[in-house]
């Protein structure tokens, strides 16, 4: 596990680092601490990370730009902030958790726990997925998302207008962010349930979900039962 802490309050950064080390123990590979936005952006660009713990207000600067960059990356982001009113925005952009200051060890560990657990998202507030384009970050509205296909470390987002976008996060990580209206129906697929028209059973116990746009996507054998129960 490689972790970056972005925080300009030295004492708080040390606290976060200490608790993170305690929580992840041996599974931790590295913890870095950076206290300016600029350095953080450079660091994110050049290092492979699993988790970023981010304060949105660094040296009086607004960390919003850094937030959009961070959520487009493959790693998960947890916000640690003094401004509770930023929580909604943060969740809309797809952060794993929002830890308001001041925080206890328990509250931080609860957030860190989400990184490793398979639990579904704690809110259904996420409204955008940030996709990295050549020079910029494009925000894709969750409303436009039909289904997601895992492609190794990446995912492919299939949108309502028929287009396809690549996302740097893995299917597992997106599953952690997306709300209940999305379902993991296959080891490689997440679909918006309202887009499913019906289930088609093919020979050899192959199950396919027929989507409203005419696409068929496979349903995992193990997922079928749970899905059927939900569906009927």
């Amino acid at each position: 596990m490689d972790i970056l802490i972005v925080e300009d309050e030295s004492r708080i950064a040390k606290r976060v680092e200490r608790m993170t080390r305690d929580f992840f123990g041996n599974t931790l590979n590295s913890v870095s601490h950076i206290n300016t936005l600029r350095e953080a952006l450079v660091f994110i660009e050049n290092n492979a990370l699993d988790l970023v713990l981010l304060d949105l207000n660094l040296n009086g600067e607004d960390g919003f730009d850094l937030l959009t960059v961070a959520v487009a990356e493959s790693f998960q982001t947890i916000i640690i902030s003094a401004y509770k009113d930023q929580a909604i925005t943060a969740f809309e952009y797809g952060v794993l958790d929002f830890v308001p200051k001041p925080f206890s060890r328990d509250r931080l560990e609860q957030a860190l726990h989400r990184v490793t657990s398979k639990e579904e998202a704690i809110t259904d507030m996420v409204r955008f997925l940030a996709v990295k384009k050549r020079q910029r970050i494009q925000l894709i509205s969750i409303e436009d998302l039909v289904y997601i296909r895992g492609a190794g470390a990446y995912t492919e987002l299939f949108l309502a207008d028929g287009s396809k976008e690549l996302h740097d996060k893995s299917l597992e990580k997106l599953e952690q962010l997306l709300s209940n209206s999305f379902e993991r129906i296959h080891k490689s697929y997440i679909v918006r349930m309202s887009e499913v028209k019906g289930i088609v059973v093919k020979s050899g116990s192959k199950y396919l979900a027929e989507l409203k746009n005419g696409d068929f996507i496979p349903i995992g054998r193990t997922k079928y039962k749970a899905l059927k129960a939900k569906w009927y």
Binding site: R11, I12, R15, N57, Y83, K101, P102, S104
Partner: protein
């Protein structure tokens, strides 16, 4: 509510004045008056050949006695026991004969040089009923005009019911005194307003204008109950015209203050010269003087207010309407009526402008109160805004958990800063020492949070000085927030005070690296706070510069004396 009652009082005054001018049909007809120098008791007789008498008399020197004869037709005989009265307005001391019968004596004709002045300029006598029959009569006067020998024969005669003559005069006089009284009250009221706020010169001018109008009316209408000898009449007219001179100057001056324009001073000087010219021309041409001054005043005021309306100055249009109305009244009615009605209307316009000014002042005052409250809240907010409070509490939790003893010291530092804020929160200026103590307490807190060595230095501080609360504290906050430590993990702040006869100057220096240009919202708020505080305490007599330097950042607050 004195202001509200003024217009209605004026209106009543004007209405009463105009109704009192309504006249009953004339009961007499006056023929040409003729004159003869000399003294002969038979010249009083009704029947006399006065065909060779003079129609005009230029000059009768040395108080010589002369006679005048005026044929008068009585058109309607008086009712029984209701005698007619004869009202005469004539220069000189005289005896009055009606159809050869002496009906009155006003002074001592021919003896003016020896005896003290006696008699009145305006006087009313009753005509015995049996002498006032319908038909032709002769009014003969035996006069001398010692004091104004060149003012002979400008008589005004009025014949009407004796009682009516006296009461009409009194009624008119009392109405006009009510009118004058209203102006006096308004004048005193606005004088007090001015005394309470000595910068408001329009209030004073308005007050003086009202006083002059009051004076003018009193002088004009006191003649009916104060006996005035014809020898002092010129003095009365001079006083009257002096009031009018003042009014004629002050009204356009007032408008020029409310609706300023280019070359105001020059135009006012030229106008004053014109007025003084009218004032000093020919001693006895009082009517020309008065009309000249009033017309100039109307025209000049009209010009200024029209310009104001053209420039869309507030209230100019309404004032223009009142001026136009007064000009219309001036053109449409007699001079006396129009003078008071017109002045009343103009003063109403001026009052309206004053009311607008007072409203502006009240709004400005209210907004300054709001601003002060806002600044006070902003100062209080410094310690409860989430960035400060939550980060402090998070650090504090950590200190308490990891090193309880240090945690306690941290809490003490926090308590110190909170205590200082409590002491200063409702003040607009605090001793510089208190502000510095606040900065030091803040530094202590930030050391626990940031674990950076902050260093505070002072130079030339004069502890007698005061400063708006939170100013240096805000600069310090910005310095801490936007700076990264130098090598050796330290940031230095230095406060330098300099003063001379022109200004006092605080220079706040931050020695650090990575200080960036101020762009963010938070810092904008901080600088706005400082500027608003400086304005609150020093109005516009301050300068504030905040800029990067080689070593970090520099902020300079200059307060001019």
């Amino acid at each position: 509510m004195n202001l509200r009652s003024l217009p209605s009082l004026l209106l009543i005054g004007i209405l009463l004045l105009s109704t009192s001018c309504g006249q009953a049909p004339e009961v007499f007809k006056e023929h040409q008056t003729v004159y003869q120098i000399g003294d002969n008791p038979t010249w009083a007789k009704k029947v006399l050949n006065d065909g060779n008498w003079e129609r005009r008399m230029e000059l009768i020197p040395e108080g010589e006695i002369f006679w005048s004869r005026t044929r008068i037709d009585i058109l309607k005989a008086p009712e029984e026991l209701r005698p007619y009265g004869l009202q005469i307005d004539a220069y000189g001391e005289y005896e009055i004969f009606w159809d050869g019968v002496m009906i009155g004596k006003n002074g001592n004709p021919g003896q003016e040089a020896e005896l003290p002045p006696e008699g009145e300029l305006w006087i009313t006598y009753s005509i015995p009923t049996h002498l006032a029959t319908e038909g032709e009569h002769v009014l003969a006067l035996r006069l001398s005009n010692y004091y104004f020998p060149d003012h002979v024969g400008q008589y005004e005669i009025e014949i009407a019911d004796y009682e009516d003559l006296l009461t009409d005069m009194l009624i008119k006089t009392s109405y006009m005194h009510v009118f004058a009284g209203a102006f006096l009250i308004v004048s005193i009221y606005f004088l007090f307003l001015f005394l309470n706020n000595r910068k408001e010169y329009p209030t004073l001018i308005f007050s003086v204008c009202c006083f002059f109008i009051c004076g003018l009316v009193l002088i004009v209408f006191s003649k009916d109950y104060v006996s005035i000898h014809y020898s002092v009449h010129v003095i009365r007219l001079q006083i009257l015209n002096s009031f009018l001179l003042g009014i004629s100057f002050l009204i356009p001056y007032y408008f020029s203050m409310q609706f300023p324009y280019a070359r105001r001073r020059l135009s006012l000087i030229l106008y004053a010269v014109l007025l003084i010219f009218f004032w000093i021309i020919s001693d006895h041409a009082f009517n020309y003087k008065t009309v000249g001054m009033v017309l100039s005043m109307l025209i000049f005021s009209f010009g200024i207010v029209t310009y104001g309306a053209y420039k869309h100055a507030r209230g100019a249009r309404l004032v223009l309407v009142t001026l136009l109305m007064s000009i219309v009244v001036f053109l449409a009615s007699g001079f006396v009526v129009s003078l008071y009605t017109g002045l009343g209307l103009i003063l109403l316009g001026m009052l309206y402008l004053l009311a607008l000014n007072i409203k502006d002042q009240r709004l400005a005052y209210e907004s300054s109160l709001v601003q002060s409250t806002r600044l006070r809240l902003e100062l209080l907010k410094k310690n409860i805004q989430p960035h400060f409070l939550m980060n402090t509490l998070t650090s504090l939790i950590d200190w308490v958990e990891e090193s309880p003893k240090k945690g306690v010291l941290f809490i003490e530092a926090l308590a110190k800063e909170f205590d200082l804020f409590n002491q200063i929160e409702d003040q607009t200026l605090i001793p510089i020492a208190q502000e510095i103590a606040l900065c030091r307490a803040h530094i202590e807190i930030m050391e626990y949070r940031k674990e950076i060595n902050y260093c505070w230095e002072e130079e030339g501080i004069d502890i007698e000085q005061t400063i708006p609360p939170g100013t240096l504290h805000t600069l310090l906050e910005n310095g801490i927030t936007h700076s990264l430590p130098l090598e050796g993990n330290s940031i230095k702040f230095k406060l330098v005070y300099e003063s001379n006869s022109d200004y006092k100057c605080y220079t706040f220096l931050t020695f650090a690296t990575g200080v960036r240009q101020a762009t963010s919202r938070e810092e904008g708020t901080g600088l706005r706070y400082i500027k608003a505080r400086l304005t609150e305490s020093y109005q516009s007599k301050w300068d504030f510069v905040s800029e990067p330097t080689d070593h970090g950042w520099k902020s300079v607050i200059k307060i001019y004396s």
